[in-house]
Symmetry: C2
Subunit: 344 residues, 2 copies
Amino acid sequence: MNLKELSTLLGLSQTTVSRALNGYPEVNEETRRRVALAAEKHNYRPNTRAKGLATGRAMAIGHVIPMSTKHEMVNPIFGDFIAGAGETYSRNGYDMVLTVVEDVNEAQAYRNIRSRHTVDGVVVHGPKMKDSRIALLHEIGLPFVVHGRASGIAQDYSWLDVNNKSAFLRSTNFLLDLGHKRIGLINGLEGMDFAYRRRAGYEEALKARGIAPDPSIMRSEEMTEIFGYRSAREMLAADEPPTAFLASSMICALGVRRAIEERGLRMGRDISVVTHDDALSYLQNGSDVPIFTATRSSVRDAGRRLAEILIERINNPDGPLIHELLEAELMVGQSTGPAPREAQ
Amino acid sequence: MNLKELSTLLGLSQTTVSRALNGYPEVNEETRRRVALAAEKHNYRPNTRAKGLATGRAMAIGHVIPMSTKHEMVNPIFGDFIAGAGETYSRNGYDMVLTVVEDVNEAQAYRNIRSRHTVDGVVVHGPKMKDSRIALLHEIGLPFVVHGRASGIAQDYSWLDVNNKSAFLRSTNFLLDLGHKRIGLINGLEGMDFAYRRRAGYEEALKARGIAPDPSIMRSEEMTEIFGYRSAREMLAADEPPTAFLASSMICALGVRRAIEERGLRMGRDISVVTHDDALSYLQNGSDVPIFTATRSSVRDAGRRLAEILIERINNPDGPLIHELLEAELMVGQSTGPAPREAQ
DNA sequence: AATCATTTTCAAAGCGCTTTGGATGCCGGG
DNA sequence: CCCGGCATCCAAAGCGCTTTGAAAATGATT
């Protein structure tokens, strides 16, 4: 069923039917009702492509997912973020189109998207420091919002981010207050902007107490369980083992816990752990009392909100840029306790 | 830059330029080269919507993600599956469009997709037993492939699935051979077809050795870490605790391990664990020696292959239906060992 | 009754592409 | 010299929608 068929069926012109369905005022309410009823009855929906051609709007938003050949990982937060964003999209009549692309071709992918007019805007995931995508998107004039921020970019842009620095500063202080002096940092991949900010928060807290950050207990990698495990194991086996760890994700933290328990130590008593928690739906941090003491910030909420921001920007590209900084909440769980006496 | 502009720029008709770019034979090779060069230079890409309108093909494939209000979980395998499928799509010039929809509106979502002509086909995720989506998709005539299978459906359809029954039958036998007689099952949500098949494999293996399945050590829920933890904890605290567990996912298995260790027991010595492993990129099962003994089957590979199947079906809708059953490999890791003497 | 304003409807153009059904020019064979 | 055949190219229609500009119908006003 298409417009033409529907309109001849109703004995009306395509114009009138189109207007009736799109809520234009210049159509009799009685007629509108008739049209709406018939459309419902025949399950008529305008053809996306035709509508898009006519209006110049795709009513779709793009997400480019770079697939590195080196770093094979699919970000575990991806699913929850998408779920949140998708909710907003649905509510606003937008489709979501994903493009998986080898990271070396990422720039070309954005250009393609632009010239093929497949989407009205894009979400930039996982910004690196001095991320080149931002300049590119400005250049080709594709509306976008960044999930996170990119340090060292001259031009301004819209973003939504968790206050990573503050979160890690607070976690570090929390551990310092408990008497821990050697705190291992198990961070995300160097070069990722969020990892940089987290380290900055960690170092700032240490320095404020006169402790010099020790590179031998700071690691940076893709945040897998294995990485958390290995890092913690190595640090614990070293001469001056940390009495606490700061992990960048729950997945990492699970690995850290494994290393701790493998060594016959007890988390929360012998070794403290604080992690960042993205509130992934399949990886809840306990039910009543959190397992891990954690800085918590729902990535699904972030997706929801970021999608709203992007839609706002698409509707009003010359409107003000939007910046939103979410504070993570520090939730005390069972994984932290005072530093053991002998280590103090 | 659009076709019209490009063609006047070249002093050619739109027809010729279009044909040159699309590889039709009736155009001089010299001309074709000129056209290709100019297109490259001006970064010309045909407008997706216009092309779609003209050809009747969307060159896009849909994934409908139902968001339950009850079960809030985003399936953790989702990211990896999408990454695999997306790879195939990119290679074949397809876009991937996701629709997040409240599960109660799922049927309507498929009808919408169909009548709006947004995609050429869809992937059906997480089939339940007697899944109603299959009949629906047949009815509205939208090409599709199911990731998994649905028992109790009259009509045939294309699918790609892991042999869940065989996998769990083999795991169970493996544990039985090690002398375990009480094996707890920590399964996915009842009603999901894969969970049904896994249980069938488990029960068949037990019965073959004259052991009656005991409902008190069989659980069924969404496969979260918490669920694995709680289930294992409860079973371990009961009168006749299991000496081994069979878990339906790595995430669950992590919870099981936590429960075991919390009780002061050692996994692989006191309690054995076998899990199914979807080979998620951020949750590798160890590096050299697997942590968990596991039935392993890469969900990313599944995505890749399933996308190929769907594209085949789209190109040849009247071709034969395709069924592919992947066997999981049983990899022995550190989480299993002979049943403790006293329990034998 | 005539005029004007307002409401309601419509025909047709246009969005950017593909594709049909020629046109054009060139060549060799009769 | 003419004609058929082939290689190239083109004009125009059509995909299904929105939107412009105008016409028709209605109601209000004088």
